[in-house]
Symmetry: C2
Subunit: 98 residues, 2 copies
Amino acid sequence: MEELEHPDLEKISLEQVLTALGDPTRLEIFRKLLTEGCLPCGALVPGAAKSTTTHHCRVLREAGLTRTKICGTQRLLRVPVEDIESRFPGLLKLVSAG
Amino acid sequence: MEELEHPDLEKISLEQVLTALGDPTRLEIFRKLLTEGCLPCGALVPGAAKSTTTHHCRVLREAGLTRTKICGTQRLLRVPVEDIESRFPGLLKLVSAG
DNA sequence: TGGTAAGTTCGATGATAATCGAACTAAGAG
DNA sequence: CTCTTAGTTCGATTATCATCGAACTTACCA
């Protein structure tokens, strides 16, 4: 079960993370993944065009906020909780609370 | 010494905060205020047009991230640290570290 | 009472980004 | 092999936003 390429979290800037989460759709995706664990791309934004969802998933992945596992025709997204917590301490608590 | 109007922090959404800080210029302003304390509007973005700085200050203020005191012809901005910490726990640590 | 310095407001402009549909790729079922 | 399902890529469109200059307000100083 391979994974898509992901950036080194050490090289991600806080600005990039905040920009990624500053969009309402992506914040909703991120929160959904945090509470529900692991979800396929298609389950993330009900009602949106597939290409739109793909776009948001890419922005989140490139900001280091999600990991994507290739699982047949599906892409399973999850939040790398420990990695994020060590690189951006406070972020997950912030998103979970807000 | 009066203050400009500020929103109730309880009514601010996390999304609004993240959008405000997602811009590189505003993140820089916010960090500068965090480290240097209290600064006039004009000292925040060297080189920018005054109207640009005014714009960014308004976005930050409307997101509850700054308080503005009217001081003669100047507007002195500061970060309401305690208020932010209680409404958005983790945010200040996140910004300070990143 | 000028004059200056600090910000604001307004309208325009340019850049960035969100969204979509259509065509495509890849994997699995029958 | 064919069909379906999941997602990607591409190009176009639209909307949002960052930036600016010009005109204005306000406070303070000489």
